[in-house]
């Protein structure tokens, strides 16, 4: 651990519970580096999570941290942010937590454009419960609950976020970490609801079940299959199969929820 970053971690809680080669540590490190690069006030940061492997991240991070119920991180985070708009609220969540049990909270947080940054640790599987398919598990992939292959079509989380009203939407991977740190920095600086989907790797469950090999092999897949948003625009549809499009998809300035609510307070008090 780099000395200058130690203050952001609860060093005594490390090593973390994640398996060898799990990408979640890489994402957690990227979040910390983004916070450090922006010199955000540590005491004003709240990190909120739900349940699952990803949601254990806040326990290792030395901020106001809240490990909530499964899928509900954004609901709790919304309460914190509306109660204390001066706090920087970051939600760390997984693909199952965010898009299955928490799917409704996710689209509504997008719609409200409340100033929260959500980093989705997408490892395409439920890791904590040892390998069931999630709404982000690719079609045809195997999982303990999809022993004959997954027939559920997976979400495109970035399209979902954009369609739901999120005002900053980007995707990164645990291979492309310098870009990921930059994306998270932009998300943290963005006023409004920002979503960073990050493709992680789960060598233990998703990897084994789908015979993808070592963590290194899974990282190579991220490297070899990723293309930038710009490159994807020029690429014929048939070549896009199994490609991971990374980069910034969408950014817009729109009224932010807690600021709009402050106007409500002014309006209500002016009427009296």
């Amino acid at each position: 651990m780099r000395k200058s970053l130690e203050k952001y971690y609860r060093i005594d809680k490390l090593p973390h519970i994640w398996c060898p080669g799990c990408g979640h540590g890489i994402i957690t490190g990227a979040v910390v580096r983004a916070i450090d690069n922006l010199k955000l006030d540590k005491d004003k940061i709240c990190i909120v999570s739900g349940i699952g492997c990803s949601s254990r991240a806040p326990g290792y991070l030395n901020f106001n941290t809240l490990h909530t119920t499964h899928g509900r991180a954004l609901a709790f985070a919304t309460g914190i942010k509306l109660a204390r708009p001066d706090l920087k609220v970051i939600v760390l969540t997984g693909d199952g937590d965010c898009t299955a049990i928490g799917g409704n909270h996710f689209i509504h947080a997008c719609r409200r454009n409340i100033d929260i940054t959500t980093v989705v640790f997408n490892n395409s599987i439920y890791g904590m419960t040892s390998g069931q398919y999630s709404p982000m598990t690719p079609l045809g992939a195997y999982a303990t609950t999809a022993p004959y292959g997954n027939i559920d079509r997976n979400f495109d989380l970035c399209k979902l976020a954009q369609a739901s009203g999120a005002t900053y939407v980007a995707r990164g991977t645990v291979y492309h970490v310098p870009q990921l740190i930059k994306i998270i920095e932009k998300a943290l600086q963005h006023k409004g609801f920002s979503v960073v989907e990050t493709l992680s790797i789960c060598p233990t469950y998703f990897g084994r079940k789908n015979k993808l090999g070592s963590p290194v092999k899974m990282m190579e897949m991220l490297r070899d299959n990723s293309i930038t948003v710009k490159a994807a625009e020029k690429m014929p549809r048939e070549e896009m199969v199994n490609k991971i499009v990374i980069g910034e998809f969408f950014e817009e300035n729109a009224p932010e929820y807690t600021e709009e609510y402050m106007k409500i307070i002014q309006r209500a008090q002016g009427e009296e």
Binding site: C46, N64, T65, G79, A83, R84, L87, Q269
Partner: protein, 384 residues
């Protein structure tokens, strides 16, 4: 309390919001559901006027989550619902119990189970208020019978919740929620407000969020964003707030959670006795049902029947002492409730065979009328 406000006609649900604001509520998250919806509507209008925040969430689960988040961030927070929504909130109510986040949950009861009878009164959520969420947990539940009492009891719900760091359920019913009565509200300066206990950080070297510094079972609370970062989790945790699976840590936490309520029963429990001194039969009741019981008891007393009433204002923790301290003249207890028989189970356990415990139950969407209470008392006294 001195009365300063002009008498006005007020609905129970409105009195709930006024009481909450008087208690210091500055955050409300909710989802529309009959017969509680007026609480959300009035909160939406009233809260921004006092600088508070209202949000209509996407569902009941989210409402409960937002309330806990807001309370952790330092605002007194409330949500209101009815049976189906109360069911949905339960997991997060358990989270608030374990993480000791003060909050008030109003359940304006309607007929159940399932969608049941949205517009009709019932008292079928008595057991859900106690055991709706899984696992052993502390909870406080209050039940008002009058509109003015809704106001006072909502304040009390906030005070108890803040003092003991426990969710407090205000168990109303459709009748009390929708009833309009003439009320005079107290002078705000005369209202006793309790705020969560805060640590003296100058005397504490390292703040442990779940340490029982004062020996009363209630850890002092720092709000998020006050410069003292700490971890909150719904997992069983030690005094530092971090997860533990150690048997001694688990046992200590659960017993402390129960102890902070069980050691303070006299303060938490409140009830009203009416003509019980020489009663042969006592009618135990709560909420809107108690209104019919009072009328019935008055009529029966004029006839010379030795009947009294015990009106429970605190349902949970259950006032066992109130049952056990009924005078030696008492032979029969009638438990009047708008359900198939829920509270009677607890009254029976409390009576330990000393009294005949008889149910007066109605579960057809109609109130228990004074006439029905009168008939039941006459029947019981005749058989006795």
């Amino acid at each position: 309390m001195t009365m300063t406000s002009k008498p006005r006609l007020m609905q129970g649900n409105e009195a709930c919001v006024e009481g909450a604001i008087a208690a210091g509520m500055r955050f409300y998250a909710g989802y529309p559901i009959t017969p509680s919806t007026e609480i959300a509507e009035i909160a939406a209008e009233r809260l921004p006027k006092v600088g508070g925040k209202f949000i209509q969430m996407e569902d009941e689960i989210a409402s409960m989550g937002a309330v806990i988040g807001a309370s952790l961030a330092g605002l007194k927070a409330m949500t209101a619902t009815s049976g189906p929504g109360f069911s949905l909130k339960q997991e997060n109510i358990g989270f608030a119990c374990l993480t000791e986040v003060p909050c008030v949950v109003v359940d304006v009861q309607r007929g159940g189970p399932s969608t049941g009878q949205p517009t009709l009164p019932a008292q079928g959520d008595v057991m859900q208020a106690r055991w709706g969420t899984h696992g052993d947990h502390p909870i406080i539940t209050l039940s008002p019978s009058y509109v003015r009492e809704v106001f006072d009891m909502t304040i009390r719900a906030f005070n108890l919740s803040e003092k003991y760091r426990v969710p407090c359920i205000l168990l109303m019913d459709e009748v009390v929620g929708h009833l309009r009565e003439r009320v005079e509200l107290p002078d705000p300066a005369s209202i006793k407000i309790i705020n969560r206990k805060r640590p003296d950080l100058s005397k504490i070297e390292y703040y442990n969020p779940y340490q029982d510094y004062d020996g009363d079972g209630i850890p002092p609370m720092v709000n998020f964003g006050e410069g003292v970062p700490y971890h909150v989790t719904g997992l069983i945790h030690d005094i530092t707030g971090f997860p533990s699976t150690k048997p001694e840590v688990t046992e200590y936490l659960i017993s402390r959670l129960m102890r902070k309520i069980n050691d303070n029963l006299d303060e938490i429990i409140d009830y009203e006795k009416f003509y019980t001194e020489d009663s042969e039969t006592v009618v135990v009741s709560f909420g809107s049902t108690a209104r019919s019981v009072i009328r019935a008891v008055k009529i029966l007393r004029r006839e010379g029947q030795k009947v009294g009433m015990l009106r429970l204002k605190t349902i949970w923790p259950f006032p066992h002492k109130a049952i056990q301290e009924l005078p030696p003249t008492t032979k029969n207890i009638i438990v009047a409730e708008m359900n198939f028989g829920q509270l009677i189970e607890v009254v029976g356990a409390s009576a330990k065979g000393r009294f005949n415990v008889i149910g007066l139950n109605k579960y057809n969407g109609e109130l228990i009328s004074p006439d029905e209470v009168i008939a039941k008392v006459r029947e019981v006294n005749k058989n006795a």
